[in-house]
C-alpha cells in the first residue's frame, strides 16, 4: 500500500511517517503543497493524507488541481479548523474524509484503511463476521454466541458490528459514535462508555470469549479473551 503524506509540520510528519511505516505502508512525504501535488500527480498512491494549511499551495488547492487531472486517489484531509463550512468545502473539493487536529493516530489509521477499502470497492464475500465464539450476520441482523441468540438493540448491533469489523484494533470514541449515530458531534466520554458497558455485560452473560477493552484516553479494542484470564 502506498501512502502520500503532505504535512508541513516536521515533527508531525516524522511521527506519522514512522507510524504508517510500522503499519506496513510505503510512505512518501511532502512538506508543502507544490511538492505534494507533484508527487500526487506523478506517482500512483492508494491514499493521500493531506494537511489543509500548507505553504505555497493550500490543501484545497492541491486537491482541486489533483482532481482536475482526473486522479481519483482517495484523499483524507487533516485540518486544524473545526468548522462545519470548512468540512463542507473540503468534502466538496473532492476530499473523501475529514479529520480535525488534534487527532488520535489510531483513528487516522482506521479512516485511511476504510477509505482504501471503499476505493478498491471489493464486495464483501460474506455478510458474516465472527471472533472466537461470537458470530454476527449483519445482512440478517442476527448475532449469537455459541448458537445462543444475543438480543441486541439496533444501536448496540451497529456498535458490535463496527468493533467486529476492526478486531484487535484501537477504535476511537468518535469513530464508534460516527458509525452508530449519524450526528456529527461529540457527546463526551460518558455516553459511549455506558453503551459499551451495556454491550460488554450482554456479551458476558452469554459467556462470549471476546472482550471489549477500554483504553483510557484512546478508545476501545475488541479482542479474543485470554484463556488464562477466565
Amino acid at each position: 500500500m502506498k501512502l502520500l503524506l503532505v504535512e508541513d509540520d516536521k515533527q508531525n510528519r516524522d511521527f506519522l511517517y514512522k507510524a504508517f511505516s510500522e503499519q506496513g505502508y510505503t510512505v512518501d512525504t511532502a512538506a508543502d503543497g507544490q511538492q505534494g501535488l507533484l508527487l500526487a500527480t506523478c506517482e500512483d498512491h492508494d491514499i493521500i493524507v493531506l494537511d489543509r494549511m500548507l505553504p505555497k499551495l493550500n490543501g484545497i488547492q492541491v486537491l482541486a488541481a489533483l482532481r482536475a487531472t482526473g486522479k481519483t486517489t482517495p484523499v483524507l484531509i487533516l485540518s486544524a479548523l473545526d468548522k462545519v463550512d470548512d468540512r463542507v468545502t473540503g468534502l466538496k473539493a473532492g476530499g473523501d474524509d475529514y479529520l480535525i487536529k488534534p487527532f488520535a493516530f489510531s483513528e487516522l489509521a482506521i479512516r485511511v484503511e476504510n477509505l482504501i477499502k471503499r476505493h478498491t470497492a471489493q464486495q464483501p464475500l460474506s455478510t458474516q463476521l465472527s471472533l472466537a465464539n461470537l458470530h454476527l450476520d449483519y445482512a440478517n441482523h442476527k448475532a449469537d454466541v455459541d448458537n445462543q441468540t444475543l438480543s441486541l438493540q439496533p444501536k448496540e448491533f451497529k456498535l458490535l458490528r463496527f468493533l467486529l469489523e476492526h478486531p484487535d484494533k484501537l477504535v476511537t470514541r468518535t469513530l464508534l459514535f460516527e458509525s452508530v449515530w449519524e450526528y456529527h458531534f461529540d457527546p463526551g466520554t460518558n455516553v459511549i462508555d455506558v453503551h459499551i458497558a451495556r454491550l460488554r455485560k450482554k456479551l458476558q452473560e452469554l459467556n462470549a470469549l471476546v472482550c471489549i477493552e477500554t483504553i483510557r484516553g484512546v478508545g476501545y479494542r475488541l479482542t479474543k479473551e485470554q484463556i488464562n484470564a477466565n
Binding site: D9, Q11, N12, F15, L16, A19, M53, A80, L81, D82, K83, V84, D85, V88, K101, P102, F103, A104, F105, S106, Q153, P154, K155, W181, Y183, H184, F185, D186, P187, G188, T189, N190, V191, V194, H195, A197, R198, I215, R216, G217, V218
Partner: protein, 445 residues
Amino acid sequence: MPIKDSAWRQIDPRSSSVWRLTLGFAVIMSVMLVLTVVLIYQLLLGEQNRQVERRLTAEKLRIEGLANEFSSSSFYSQLDVFRNESELLLFWHSDGEQSQQLSFLPEDIPALPKTIVFPVLDTQRGQIRLLTTGIVHTSHGDIVLATATENLQQLIIEFKTVAFWACLISLLLTGLFGYIFARRHLRRVHYFNSTAEKVQNGDLSARISHKQKGDEFDKLGAHINTMLDAVEDNFALVQGITDNIAHDLKTPLTRLRLNLEQQAAHFPEIGLEIEQLDTIINTFDAMLKLTRLEHGKFPLNLQRIDCQLLAEDLIDMLQPSADCNKQQIKLYSTAPLILQGDKNLLFQALFNLLDNAIKYAGIDACISITIDASSLSISDDGSGVEKAQLSQLTKRFYRGDPARQYEGFGLGLATVKAICDRHNLLLDLTSNSGGFCATITDNSD
C-alpha cells in the same frame, strides 16, 4: 392573511412615521384650503348677496315713504310708474285689484329686510327665474318686492361645485403624492432595515448603497457603512486571531497527543493525561463554537426535521446513562413537530437539555419529553432550580452546582440558547417544586 396585513401596515399611520407626517400634512392642507374657499366666498359672492339685500331695503324705505305720502289710488299709480322704470319687480294685490305676472307666489314670504329665494315661471318672458323676494307692509296693503338673482345663484352654485371638486382633488392629490413620497422614503427605510437584518444574521459584508452627496438618508447610510466597516474589520481581526490560535495551538497539541498516544501503548496510565488534554481541547472548541454561533458566523445546514425522530435518537443515545441513575425517560407526542433547522445543532441542543436532566434530576427521577404542534419540552420531577438562578443558567460558564461535582464547562445551556436563537426558536426555562422544565417553542408563525 399576510398580504392583507402588509397592505394594511403600509397605510397604518402607527407603523410609519413618514406616512404619519404625510397624513398630518394633508390635514393641515385641507384646513387651509377650506379657510381660503370660505374667505373667497365671503369676499366675492357674499358681498353681492348683501348688495341685493341693501337695494331691496332701500326700495322698501322708498315704498313706505310713498305709502305714507299718498292716498291709496295715487300710491298704486305711483307704483305702476315705479314698476315700469325700475328693474325691480313689484307685485301687490289690493281690494279688487290684482297684479299678478307670475305663475305663483309662495305664501310665506317674510317681511323685509328678511328675504326668500324661490324659482318661478315668468309668464311675460316665458322663462324660469330665481327671485329674491320680501314683503313691505304699507297702510295700503302688502307690496311684494322681488329681484331676479338667478345669475348670482347660478354663480354661487358653480362656485360651490368648483370649490368642492377643487378640495376633493387637491385632497386626493395630497394623499396620492403623500403615499408616493412616503413609499419612496419607506422603501429606503426598509432597505436600511433589511441591510441591518442581513448583518444581524451574520452577513457582515452587507452594505447600504448611497449617493456621495445626498440627503440625510444618504448620510445615515454612509455612517452605517463606516460603522459596519469597523465592525467587519474587528470581526475579521478576531476571526483571524481565533483561526491562528486554532492553527498555532493545534499543531503542537497534535504533536503532544500523538506522542502521548504512542506512549500510552506501553504505559496505560498516560491515558489519564490524554483525557485531560481532550478536555482542554473540547472546552476550547466548545467556546469557539459558541462564539461563532452567537455572532451568526456559524452557517446552518437547513433541512426539514421531524422532532419525533430526533427525540427517539436522543433517547436511544442517553437511555443507558439514565438507566445508570435508575431514571425513566418517557416520550409523549400529541402532534408532529416539523422544524426547519440544522440537524446536528438541534440534536446537540436537545442532547444538552436531556443530559442536564439526567445529571441533575437525581436518582429514580422520571424525565418526560413532550412534543406538540409548536413546542418540545424536556421536564423532570427532580428538585428543580431556584427561581433566582433561572435567568443565570444560560450564561457562559455559569454552573448550577457551586461544588462543580459534575463534569462539564458550564457552556451547555449557553450553547442551547445560542442554537435556539440562531433558529428563531424560543427557549423557556421554568422550575417549580415539581421539577425543572425546558421548553423550546417554534414561534415562526
